[in-house]
Subunit: 245 residues, 4 copies
């Protein structure tokens, strides 16, 4: 790799470490969940921490994987069991540059109930559109699986369920959120959780007016210009409560 390419990779890895810490500090991930970014030089690869709590990740913990979920360097540390989520989405969606998988607490309930869809009640969550798909792993792994996306076949099925959208819920498990930049994926992961909490509360107060499709599109376009405002705050907050120093 050239010096420039190498500098680009280092810079992306630093931002990926920040993303790990932000997602922990904002309560999107706990000991579990993970975030990846497409390799900036080799689009057929992605960068992801070794199997560990995101809040504790440092640059030394970041590994490169090919789209089959195989580590580029053999003999390394244990990898996340569900790295196939990332590989298959990068394969199917050339527009995707980052993927967040989490069990964030307000979202999980929406994955297991019938008759209620996760939908945006406010402009910050417009990216959710008019409905969020739910991936039922029983349809692919049968009634007695461990619910994990533990191979490329299940990864491909999940990617199929995600379609061209930003978020897919996973029944009894959590969600996967994608973005065209790492910061956008983090932004969406945080506001998917925020939006789920708001919808839960609103539904208890009375019939809810959701965003129209037009409002969902327009708010998404505007919010896409404002992502750094949130990122800068979240990064400072995560640094103030650092788990790695």
């Amino acid at each position: 790799m050239s010096d420039t390419a190498s500098g680009t990779v280092s810079s992306v890895i630093r931002e990926l470490v920040d993303a790990n810490h932000i997602l922990f500090d904002q309560g999107v991930v706990d000991g579990f969940g993970h975030v990846s970014v497409r390799h900036p030089v080799r689009p057929d690869r992605f960068l992801l921490a070794r199997s560990m709590a995101p809040g504790l990740v440092t640059a030394q913990d970041v590994l490169a994987f090919d789209l089959d979920g195989a580590p580029v360097e053999a003999g390394g540390p244990a990898a996340y069991l569900e790295r196939f989520i990332h590989g298959e989405i990068y394969r199917k969606r050339p527009d995707v540059v980052a993927v967040v998988h989490s069990h964030s607490p307000a979202v999980v309930p929406f994955s297991v109930v019938t008759g209620t869809k996760l939908q945006p009640i406010c402009h910050m969550c417009g990216f959710l559109g008019t409905a969020t798909p739910v991936f039922e792993i029983r349809d692919f792994a049968g009634p007695g699986s461990d619910l994990l996306i533990s191979d490329t076949r299940l990864g491909a099925a999940l990617a199929q369920s995600l379609g061209q959208g930003p978020v897919v819920l996973m029944r009894g498990h959590g969600s996967t959120v994608v973005g065209s930049t790492l910061r956008q994926a983090v932004f969406r992961a945080v506001y998917t959780e925020v939006g789920a909490r708001l919808q839960t509360e609103a539904m208890r107060l009375g019939p809810v007016t959701y965003l129209t499709e037009g409002e969902a599109i327009a708010t998404t376009n505007t919010n896409n210009t404002q992502i750094d405002r949130a990122w800068n705050l979240w990064l400072k907050a995560a640094q103030n409560r650092s788990m790695t120093s």
Copy 2:
């Protein structure tokens, strides 16, 4: 400007910075939302931070705007997209000295449900009166807007909906709260959020006894004499968890 006037402005800016930090620390704003104060020497202007997270604002980030939302000094940094909320309210309401706009989480649900009004269940929220208006931006911007108050026309419509009251909810968006002092506006913004949470919980337990109009007025009058007690606490708390040092 005279030295005295200049000292007054500096002092108001310092308090505006504190207000930004308090609103973040109390959970009223996150990366988004903003607070302004009318210019103490030029009532046809107001002071507002540049476009950034309130928790990170310093005195250097505060800009002056005219009531049309135009920055007094051209060529400065990017301004909040919704500065027109502030300008139009200051224009319409000479009694208003400070404005807080937020997406505080317990309030947003009240903006999107039909059949339930935000009302005070306890004395700390008496200023809410007997009902809080909801501004439906679809009536002014159509069914496909980005929900933001992004020009003077929408700002004027919002100010009209606010009327002579202290709070207006904004459908699918948040709320705007005003005060005759900066500290009062902050106090009301915090207790609008607190009150929304209390009402939400109470409604789930059974039929609720709200404050009468007389109680709302009497409690507001008493609480107006007690604002510094909360302010001093919140300022110390925000300083202890400072995001700017």
Copy 3:
């Protein structure tokens, strides 16, 4: 006063300061609410901070009052508007050594709903007994009051409503909790809030089995021997997050 008496008073004041900080740190009080202790040498007096946020109280802020709520030393700083809560309860209840008044958030909803009583669902809250009275200030101050216990007449009415119990709710306002020691009053104030939250959640899951009267009595007797275990933890927690250093 003798040296011994003076030492006793100093020691009680130190514990009262700790109680203020604990109640803030545990979320029972915010900028508002107050805690008092009967004067250890003069039972016709009580000790209470001047009007300020409990989290910021220091020993220098503690004042002595007679049971009419008049400060023993004239010309001092402003006193809490509701000091009459304390005086009238000490007058009516010789067994009471400490009083906590708060607007703790899970309790307020129980003060405004009909058909639901605050009751213990678990052993830590056994002291609540089989029902908690609600004081309706409209019966004494009419339909347009500021809801505050702002004179001895209203204080006496509240004390009457409290009766021989440990807790009285105040409609649209909060609660007042008493104890035969300062630590017991603090313990009860914290667990009144905890219990209200637990009951709120349980009621949403299905029909609730509350403690019997016998269980309420037996758990109270046992818990009375365990108060220091919680106090020591809460004090350390409050010191770790000190607002006064």
Copy 4:
């Protein structure tokens, strides 16, 4: 004891201290609740702190007990009133190496309602299986007890109710969770609380799809290999907010 055995005991005690701090920091215990581990050299004994808040426990506070709940060294400090929970479970369940007893807030409501069972809605809580038993102490101690497991007879009854499972709820009181390692017991105690909160929220959104028995078993097997990932995070978090330094 040999030097090796003595080193093993010291190491187990250090981990037990960490477990105490983690359970406090994760909100499973407050001033009350306790965690024990079977003695690594003498399986007819167990190690448990003296009667104190878990968040404040140090190695010097750990005592050894026999299975009857009697301290191995007489004349020591006061012991937890409910140490019989631990002794009787260790007696009845040779597979159990650690026991956590708590009043964690999302779980208590499930102990007092009829018609609703605590069940896993997501893979992290698969260990809960298809239903969690509730121990009704009235059946053994009558209608006026203090609800505590204060002797070996009640301990044996609770152990009977636990059966071969990982968790038993205790009506009006809390829960007891066991594990085949200390880290597994802590993991389960945290995720019992997490799972109870998730189920509570999901039940309010609509009919819930719970894990099948097969999914419960498969997710448990997978999660058992991932416990250290959470432990390492929780330990770092507890150390960052240390209550004992």
